[in-house]
Every structure is written in C-alpha cells, then in structure tokens.
Amino acid sequence: MLDTRQIGAVLPAFDARVDAGRLRFFAKATGQDDPSYIDAEAALAAGHRALPVPPTFFFCLEMDSPRPAAMRELLGIDIGRVLHGEQSFVYHAMAYAGDVLRFEPRITDIYAKKGGALEFVVRETRVTDAAGKLVAELRATTVVRNG
C-alpha cells in the first residue's frame, strides 16, 4: 500500500524552457496541421507573440523535470504498474516558445479502491512564468495496478 503520509509532499520544483523545435515535433506527433502551431510567422499572423504552447503540452513540459521519477521513487511505484487515470488543466495565460516556466508539483491525495487492487495518487502542479504570474494549474491522477 502506498504511504498516505506522503499526502502533501512537495516534489522538486524546476524550470522548463519552451523550445520551438519541440513544439513543432509535438505538432507532428499529434497530427496538428494548424500552421499557427508549426510556423512562427503564421503564429504571429494569428495574434500570438511566438509559437503557442498547445493545451496539453504543459503536461509534457512537466515530464522535463530533472527528476521525472521523483514521485514514483518517493512512493516506491513500479513504472510498469502505472496508468494515467485523469488529467486536468486550468489555464490563466497563454505560454509561448522561448518562455521559461516554473513547475511546482506536490502530492495532494493518495487513496485506494477495490480493496487496494487499484491505488490512486493525485499530483497538482502550479505553473508560473518568469515574472511569477500564474500560467496554468495541472492536476494528474496516476493509477497503480497492484497484483
């Protein structure tokens, strides 16, 4: 069983720089054909100041943590046993290529279902820009399959 005393645990904060090439790669991987997500000039023409960070890419930036396994290590979770249960985003501002975003994740809940066959870990992450302004809030629910 996961240690519920870790509810409230703060995970390592980190900064992630949004790379334009990575955004183009993400557009290719997700079949995005809207030029404003691929071409900087098209993005400017659409009223953006650079290539925009698409809605789910904040989660990708969160994976760029220098210690992406920090939560699993803290809780002793085998990566082969995890599923992604839920993911949500609250958006406060657009973010763009070239921005440096600060990610501050913490564990906000741990609970079990089906007599412990499934365990759930909820992680919430604040994302702020270089000026400290709130850009997005992420909430990820990880499911651990036991047995």
Binding site: T30, P54, T56, C60, M63, R81, H84, Q87, Y91
Partner: protein, 139 residues
C-alpha cells in the same frame, strides 16, 4: 484558428468532429519523443509483455492532444479556460480515435460568458476511450 466563433453559440451545438489515426507504432514512437513521456510500456513490446500487457498501447495524453485539437480547431486557444480528461479505456495500436464534442451549458464567471463543452474520444467501433470537459470563454 477560428477567432470569435463562440459568440453566438448555445447549448446543444456540436463541435466539428474529426478522426485521428489509425495509431501506428510509429505514431507512438513520435509521441514518445515529442511529449517527453518515455514510459517504455508505450513503445517497447518486450517491456509491455513483462508488465503483463499483450502489446504496447497508446499514451492517453495522445488522445487528449487530439481532443485539444478538436477544441482549438473550433475556438481560439486563448479563450480556453479549463480542459479535463478521464482515461476510460486503453487505446490500442491500430485504433482510429474519433473526437466529438458538444456545448452543454452557457454560464457566467465574473462577468465572462463561458461555455461548457463535453468531449468524447471513441474507437472506430464506438467504444469510449476518453471522456472530457472543457470550459471556453465566449468572446
């Protein structure tokens, strides 16, 4: 991008649907690199089998990205206030992900008119893979 489309929209309106895929192993390799989600269960058959799965399977966040495309095809991203998905079932290699959405409510928050949109991603056989909800500001 489709600016200002939310102005006159009311509950009941459907978003323009689209189908992505079929998801190939190559798609998963690309998404692995582009997303930074390097969990081998999505790209390494040997690892997936050792973890008790029959095959590799798609990242849930790939289908979530398809649902996000459904939203940004329809409304400017700057008007997106919230986006949440629940991963209902595993999406398999070869699946075609059909993304649909429907406006279910118009409401107001601090003087801003907002639309609540329900989202679904289904397989080619109609099985639900992801359900989601988004809140979009009506500019």
């Amino acid at each position: 991008m489709n600016p200002g489309i939310t102005r006159d929209i009311q509950a009941g309106q459907a978003l323009p649907a689209f189908t992505a895929g079929p998801i190939s192993r190559h798609t998963l390799a690309l998404y692995c690199g582009a997303s930074g989600d390097h969990n081998p269960i999505h790209v390494d058959l040997d690892f997936a089998r050792s973890a008790g799965m029959d095959d590799v399977f798609a990242h849930g966040m790939l289908s979530a990205a398809y649902l996000a495309r459904l939203l940004t095809n329809w409304a400017p991203q700057a008007s997106l206030r919230e986006f949440a998905v629940r991963f209902v079932a595993i999406t398999h290699v070869g699946d075609e992900v059909r993304c649909t959405g429907q406006v279910v409510e118009r409401f107001e928050v601090e003087g801003e008119s907002r639309l609540r949109v329900e989202l679904n991603a289904r397989s080619q056989t109609g099985e639900l893979r992801l359900s989601g909800v988004a809140v979009v500001a009506a500019i």
